[in-house]
């Protein structure tokens, strides 16, 4: 149906695709798996006319085609949902959905009422009831925006659907919705290319999969178990993905939260001890993000107390959190928007908040700064030059995450709030991050950990609090910390508190 042969594409010195091939059979869902930077997204962009390959050929139904632009790709019957959202943020959902097919009446005037009605009909024909056609994407949640993007692509009735990481921001229920749409699309004769970092999703959905490594396809299989996939993707046997959970926790409570409230939080209380990794679980969007932002001072609390190292502290802005005795630091999932200065070097990003420490009378001692930066880069295993002069934007997501963690370590933060730090990070780097988290706990930091991947929470944390609707509804500790138990507590309507 669709075949890519020996596609190569370089960006400067980085070779994103180095002769990758794969073929999509009619009526199948074909998974592309591999680490970040393995070339999946680049291949999808090449097939969709966003990028032009340096080399290689694309065949559609046996005929060679050239795809110079997204418009041509659409005409050929390819519909793509890209990783980056392409919605028009301040135009209505209806306009976004029907921009290429606006209902027009006399004299070519757009009929607005009809536009909204038709958009509503389109949305409900795909089983989407929660998005209002007159709303603007800017005010929709990330998940709703993603759903809108998917509906917009489906509506054009492509014959081939290309989905690049469509589930990254979706909740479990929404993922089920997407899979139902994909299966319906397949039943109606369409073929699908699907990428995801969540192995379970790939296993559940795809008929066949191709593994990518370093810009090449390394295997195409109908079935593949996870450990074999890991070997193919990383080229090495990882053994245990997760490091052993550190056991030695002291009785020394670093952070205590009492009845914290906000618009979203409904009285959250807990405490974290030195050397402890406390997991925050639950379905997506149950107030976990607000909890992290509130503790960091990026959102105002409406009531409750935050006790840091035995002393009550008012935390109204991030500066208060960082200076609150022991130092509370947040590492968010979206490093681009919350924390890193992308065009600046790794070194500058690491030392920015504390650069004064290396200075005498205002003059920065570069040698001193470099020594600290070098140590930190080595400790965190950031894949960059030892001097740290590389721009942060050229690092992969996981390495950017390490830089952000390193910055807070340098600033002396003892309480680390890690919010979904492995989102969109490749397997190898994920493993590095797990190890780092365990090491930090052993070094005496208190860690509050949230992940959209329940497996991670279960394997890394000694204790897990499950949140629902802004409250902690269940505490799991010791042997109770199992993925199944966390999921059960997340979805059960009447969990004992």
């Amino acid at each position: 149906m669709l075949e890519a042969v020996d596609i190569a594409k370089s960006f400067g010195e980085v070779q994103a695709l180095a002769g990758a091939s794969f073929s999509l059979a009619p009526g199948e869902v074909h998974g592309l798996v591999g680490e970040n930077g393995a070339g999946k997204s680049t291949l999808i962009k090449v097939l969709s006319g966003v990028l032009r390959p340096d080399r290689g050929q694309v065949f559609l139904n046996g005929r060679r085609v050239v795809v110079p632009s997204p418009a041509v790709a659409r005409r050929l019957g390819l519909g793509t949902v890209f990783q980056e959202l392409t919605l028009l943020r301040w135009m209505t959902v209806a306009e976004n959905l029907l921009l290429d097919d606006l209902p027009r009446g006399r004299g070519g005037l757009v009929q607005r009422r009809k536009l909204a009605d038709r958009a509503a009909a389109v949305l409900s024909s795909y089983g989407v009831e929660s998005i209002d056609p007159l709303e603007v994407p800017d005010r929709l949640s990330l998940a709703d925006q993603q759903i809108l993007e998917i509906v917009r692509t489906l509506r054009r009735q492509p014959s081939i659907l290309l989905l690049d990481e469509p589930t990254a921001s979706l909740s479990a229920g929404q993922v089920d919705w997407l899979f139902a749409q994909v299966r319906r699309f397949r039943t109606e004769g369409g073929s699908v290319v699907f990428t995801s970092h969540r192995w379970k999703e790939v296993e559940e959905l795809v008929d066949r999969l191709t593994v990518f490594r370093n810009g090449r396809d390394v295997a195409t299989r109908e079935r593949l178990d996870e450990s074999e996939a890991v070997v193919l993707m990383t080229g090495r046997r990882l053994g245990e993905m997760y490091p052993p959970v550190p056991t030695a926790t002291s009785e020394d409570v670093l952070l205590e939260v009492r009845e914290v409230r906000s618009n979203v939080l409904d009285g959250v209380s807990f405490s974290v001890r030195r050397g402890e990794i406390l997991g925050i679980g639950g379905l997506a969007g149950q107030g976990q993000r607000e909890l992290f932002l509130t503790l960091f001072g990026a959102r105002r609390a409406k009531g409750g107390e935050i006790v840091v190292g035995g002393q009550r502290r008012r935390i109204r802005r991030p500066k208060d959190a960082i200076r609150s005795g022991l130092g509370i630091a947040l590492v968010p999932e979206d490093r681009k928007q919350e924390g890193l200065l992308l065009p600046l070097s790794v070194r500058d990003n690491l030392t920015l908040p504390v650069v004064g420490r290396f200075a005498i009378a205002g003059l920065i001692r570069r040698a001193e700064e470099r020594r600290h930066v070098g140590e930190l880069i080595a400790r965190l295993q950031v894949k960059t030059t030892r001097s740290g002069s590389q721009a942060v934007e050229t690092l992969s997501g996981g390495n950017q995450q390490k830089v952000l963690i390193g910055r807070w370590l340098l600033a002396g933060a003892q309480v680390l709030l890690l919010y979904d730090i492995t989102r969109g990070v490749d397997l190898g780097t994920k493993h590095d991050l797990y190890k780092l988290v365990a090491e930090l706990a052993e070094a005496g930091h208190a860690i509050v950990f949230y992940s959209s991947d329940t497996d991670e929470t279960a394997h890394l944390c000694q204790r897990v609090l499950v949140m629902r609707e802004g409250r902690v509804v269940r505490e799991l500790a010791g042997a109770q910390v199992e993925p199944e138990a966390i999921v059960a507590a997340s979805v059960m309507e009447t969990a004992e508190v």
């Binding site: 028009l88 135009m91 921009l99 606006l102 009831e129 209002d132 007159l134 929404q174």
Partner: protein
């Protein structure tokens, strides 16, 4: 279960908060105008006072509407003042008091404006130059051309032309404002209008959706050029003559009107109707300061203070409205 729908009003108040605010500000300025007029002269503004204020506002209404369209596409046009310089000078030197001459020269002037906009647009889109660079250069060129056409202020505009375009004894000016409003409301409902917003929202995404981004951006500059040329005609008619530097002060005033009208400088948000209100506010403010006995020497000082105050107020009101809306939205939304 059907798709969530809310009332038209809730969208109007949310998505159009800046527009509503522009109306409110216009209302307040009108009230202040009436108040200070009455305090100074001990009677309410006469019909003549209203009519001349409206015709005074016309050049700014047109030039700001054009600027607003360009800003909506996330761009800016610094040449609008230069276009007004050249066009009012052309009209003052060439127009005779016969109907064919007035019609012909009006059309020529508008065509000159459109052509200038086309040059701007092509340099920006095909030439891939920054709008600020292109239009600062064309502004300079146009100012030079205007000085060549009309070295000293003067020339002549037929009285009958002034009577139509800048009549201080009839509310004819309102008709022209109405023309701008209707033009915009229609434009918004054509594909071009929707495409203008799409380009301003995200040019790359608009391109991926099959919109010819180059053509749309160029169209915005052409519209701005034509509107600025019209503004030049109104300016010439109002002063019954020409001045090769008469349009210069309108450049910054056009941005003030765009800001007060609630059009986002990041593109894609706002309405030209708001810009028309903004132009009204900027024009009226001068009269208010005059009747409030403010030394005209300090006029720009107070204008600046007012502009910052108005924008700050606008931000506060918008964020409050959005916060309320988020709350109600969350309550009304069904969980997955």
């Amino acid at each position: 279960m059907s798709v969530v729908r809310r009332s038209r009003w809730s969208y109007l108040s949310l998505q159009q908060a800046p527009l509503l605010l522009a109306f409110v500000m216009l209302g307040i300025t009108v009230a202040a105008y009436v108040l200070f007029f009455d305090l100074r002269l001990h009677h309410l503004p006469t019909a003549f006072a209203w009519d001349s204020t409206i015709s005074n506002a016309l050049p700014l209404v047109f030039v700001a509407a054009g600027q607003g369209i360009v800003v909506l596409t996330r761009s800016l046009d610094l040449s609008v003042g230069g276009i007004m310089d050249l066009t009012n000078s052309l009209a003052a030197t060439h127009m005779h008091s016969s109907v064919p001459s007035m019609l012909l020269w009006s059309l020529i002037v508008l065509a000159v404006g459109g052509a200038t906009g086309l040059v701007n647009g092509l340099l920006v889109t095909v030439g891939r130059l920054q709008p600020i660079v292109v239009t600062i250069a064309t502004m300079s060129i146009l100012q030079g051309l205007a000085a060549w056409v009309l070295p000293q202020p003067g020339g002549n505009i037929p009285a009958s032309y002034t009577n139509i375009l800048a009549n201080s004894n009839s509310p004819l000016g309102l008709v022209f404002i109405g023309v701008v409003a209707v033009f915009w409301l229609l434009l918004r409902r054509f594909r071009l209008g929707i495409a203008l917003y799409a380009v301003g929202n995200d040019a790359e995404a608009a391109n991926a959706l099959g919109i010819n981004v180059r053509r749309i951006r160029t169209s915005a500059f052409v519209l701005s050029g034509i509107m600025s040329a019209a503004a030049g005609l109104f300016l010439a008619a109002g002063s019954s003559g020409g001045d090769a530097t008469g349009g210069d002060s309108y450049l910054l005033a056009s941005f003030a009107a765009v800001v007060l009208g609630g059009v986002s400088f990041f593109g894609g948000r706002g309405s030209v109707i708001g810009v028309v209100c903004g132009a009204g506010v900027v024009t009226l403010l001068v009269s208010v300061l005059f009747y409030a006995n403010v030394n005209s020497f300090y006029e720009s000082f107070y204008q600046g203070i007012f502009l910052i105050g108005a924008v700050l107020l606008g931000m506060v009101v918008t964020s409050l409205a959005q916060r309320r809306a988020r709350g109600s939205l969350r309550r009304s939304r069904r969980r997955w």
